[in-house]
Structure formats: structure tokens, C-alpha cells
Homo-oligomer: 224 residues x 2
DNA sequence: GATGTCTGACTGTCGGACAATTCTAGACAG
DNA sequence: CTGTCTAGAATTGTCCGACAGTCAGACATC
């Protein structure tokens, strides 16, 4: 009866980390901004030790960097980082795509549903935030095809890093229709069992994404 | 003039984490053993806060687990974990293998050298610890072919997790000659540019590794 | 201009404190 | 004898105050 009842635990450290993370993703803290321990501790009404642990979490998540004796600062995404992250994405997602036939029905269904949701949303709303959310879910589902929780977690971290690095940039602009078509093609190829072709298409898609990301780092705006 | 002068930083937290890690890998701490904060802090002569941070590092590295209000304990590797880790290894390493032709000469050379060192060592020594070390270096170099530092770091974490889970088992036994032949074949295929065949061979090799690992979890001994 | 000194800010680490939670063992009722 | 309850011990989670070490900038000195 009460099958799905779950009381999730939440420590002060986690809540503090989440709070800071939210501020980062909302773009309220520019990359490079130092995260001072005492200031944060006073602002949030928690002890300094707690803030320190929260900052360690953020550093481990890759959204902040620690410089010894100087403190923690919001991560700045360099062009090298974008390249590294792109290569990581390609590796994880194409590994997933290539496992399409061995993947479980649930994993395949997740890809299908994410793609459906994306196209549906693209047709009905102009809310870019929700759209990128749906977009990311597709790519996440592709990694899910590998069947490894760890890789999925890694992909989440990498995506968070990318999103953070772009949070302060102007809103993503570009040809939504083309984006939708890209994913429709990719998933179509997969569901037709043409795995190798899908892998190639994915490669192309991610390479295109990389250049626009690189561009964004340089110019302050994303063009897709 | 002073080009290669470098002073590496080392915090107490890091040293503490390393110290505990060493104990784990040496098998001196069984999986499931609780890591008590006060006990460790007294034993190592550092503050409890410091130990707490060190434990957080170990948890982030996946070699220990934290249960809220109960503390941190040495990780126990389940069969599901072995499966997950194996899938992750396959994904990362075959992604590297498939990028062989696009990889930089240095990255390819790293694979070559690691393989050379391994075969050389296998012929001259019976030191299993050094041998697995050299073995791991090959697989690490394969991930290096992806050109992503992040994936390399992820692979390190996964390997650490596997090694830890097996630290308390009896020494790895098995057909060294066969192992050497496996890697010689794999690297040979790569250097001949037969990438797809190499990927298949890698798949086979890692699948074989997975069954012996699974077996090890069940029986307390590794047979290869 | 290079070097030394001072100072304020901040981190890294320590020790103590206390509430909340979990575990344990003994008391107790049926 | 078995199951339940409860008091107390052990341990974690969090906060606080303290102090040395390090860093960066201002300023003085040679």
C-alpha cells in the first residue's frame, strides 16, 4: 500500500551545497567569483565547518575549484575544458548508442520517451530553459544505454559543468527546428536498428555542439 | 632558468586520506569495517574535522560509503558493482580504442610503452603486485586515447574501486602467459590500424575479466 | 627597480561542546 | 522463555572559538 513512500534524508551540508549550486546555475554568481567561507556561513546561518564541507562537495562535482590557502571559486570554463568535456560526452554517448541492441527494453524506452517529450515540447512552448532540460534528458538516456550507473553519474557531472560554464552567457539561441530534426533522425536510426549510422550521426551532432559551445565561450552568446 | 622547479602542495587532509587509502589497499581493513572518526583522529594525531574531510574524500572516490548518522565504512563490492564497473570499463576503453587513428602520437606511444613494459616485466619477474600495476597501466593508456582528462580520472576511480574490492582476496592467480598474449594481440591489432578488430578483442578480453572478477567475489579467490 | 617589512584577510587545522540518532543490554511483562 | 520497553553508552552532525600559516597589497628602504 505505502510502497513508494520514502523519506529522503537531508543533511545541512547537502542543503547548503544545493543552495549555493542553485545560485551558480541561476547565473547569480559569475565564474571566478570567490566563495568565502565566513561570508557564506553568516549569510546562510550555518557553521563554517558545514560550509567547508559543502564547498568540498561542489569542488568534487566540478562546479568550483579550490586553490590551496586561497579558497574556493566558481569554476571558469576554458576552451580546453569545453574540448575535454566534448570528448567525454562523445565517448559516453556513443558507447551507449553502440550498445543499443544489447540494452534492456526499459533503457531503450527511456530514449524514446525523452525524444518524444522533446519534440512535443519544442512544438508547444518557447520556454528555452525547459527545452534544454528536455534536450539534456535525451543525451542522458543515451548514456543510460550503457547500463552503468557510474557512467550516468559521470555524465550528469559533466553536463552540470557545461551548463554552469554557460549560465552567465546570454540565452541559447538558434534553430530549434534543426535541433529537433537532428534528434529525430538519431533516434529514428536507432529504432531502425541502424546503430553504426546512428553513431556517426551522434558524432556529427556533438561535434556541431562543440563548435557552438567554443564559440559561446569566445563571444558570450550561443549560436546554434 | 628555474623552469622545472616545482613545490607540490600537500594538506593534512590529503595525507590522512592517502594514509587510510593505503591501509585499505593493503587489505589491512576488511570491506565493511567502520571508519570511526575519533579513533582515526587519535590514532593519526590530527583533529576530527580533518579526518571528516579525509573520509569525505574517500567516499567521493568510491572506496568508502557513508550511511547517515552511522558513519563511513570500507566499501563492499557487490556482484552488481562488478557488473556496473565492467560496463563502464568497456565503454571507456573501447571509446579510446575507436579513436586510435585520431589520437595524438603521444597517446599512442603511451599505449605502446605500457604494453612493452608489461611484457618485459612478465618475462622477468614474479612480483604479482608490480605486474597488475603494469597491466592496469595498459588499460589506463587505452582510456587516454579518448583525449579526455576527465575520463582518465573516472577510469582511475573505477580501477581503484575494483582493486579495493579485491584487496582482501587471495592473490591473483592465473595464466600470465595468456594474459600477456591477450594484450600483445590487442596492441598489435591497433598498431596495424585494424581498429574494429581491436575493439572486438578488447570486448572479449574485458568480458573474460568480468567473469573471473565475479567469480572472485563469490569464491574469495581469483582464477584467470 | 629590487628587496624587505607591515598589515589585514582568509584558509587550514585544532579542540571542545552539545543535540540528535543509533546501538546495546538489561529490566520487565506476558 | 520470549517479546517489548527503556535507560544509557557510543557515535555522528553541527556549531563555536582559537590560532598559526599563507597570501596580496601598501609602503618603506637600499
Amino acid at each position: 500500500m505505502y510502497g513508494d513512500l520514502q523519506l529522503e534524508y537531508s543533511s545541512t551540508v547537502e542543503r547548503a551545497a544545493d543552495e549555493i549550486r542553485r545560485a551558480l546555475f541561476a547565473g547569480r554568481l559569475e565564474p571566478g567569483t570567490p566563495l568565502r567561507e565566513v561570508a557564506l556561513s553568516e549569510a546562510m546561518g550555518v557553521g563554517r565547518s558545514t560550509i567547508r564541507e559543502a564547498l568540498a562537495v561542489l569542488v568534487a562535482d566540478g562546479v568550483a575549484v579550490r586553490v590551496p590557502n586561497k579558497g574556493v571559486a566558481v569554476k571558469e570554463l576554458s576552451a580546453a575544458d569545453v574540448g575535454d568535456l566534448s570528448r567525454a560526452r562523445v565517448a559516453l554517448e556513443s558507447a551507449g548508442v553502440r550498445r543499443w541492441t544489447e540494452a534492456t527494453p526499459e533503457q531503450r524506452a527511456a530514449v524514446h520517451e525523452a525524444a518524444e517529450a522533446y519534440t512535443g515540447l519544442a512544438a508547444t512552448t518557447g520556454d528555452t530553459a525547459a527545452l534544454t532540460e528536455a534536450h539534456l534528458r535525451i543525451h542522458r538516456a543515451l548514456v543510460g544505454l550503457t547500463g552503468s550507473r557510474r557512467l550516468l553519474a559521470a555524465a550528469d557531472v559533466y553536463n552540470a559543468e557545461l551548463r554552469l560554464g554557460l549560465a552567465h552567457l546570454d540565452r541559447v539561441r538558434g534553430n530549434i527546428a534543426e535541433q529537433v530534426e537532428d534528434h529525430r533522425l538519431l533516434v529514428g536510426l536507432l529504432e531502425a536498428g541502424r546503430v553504426e549510422e546512428a553513431a556517426v550521426e551522434l558524432d556529427r551532432h556533438l561535434a556541431a555542439a562543440e563548435v557552438s559551445l567554443r564559440d559561446a565561450i569566445g563571444h558570450g552568446t550561443i549560436e546554434r
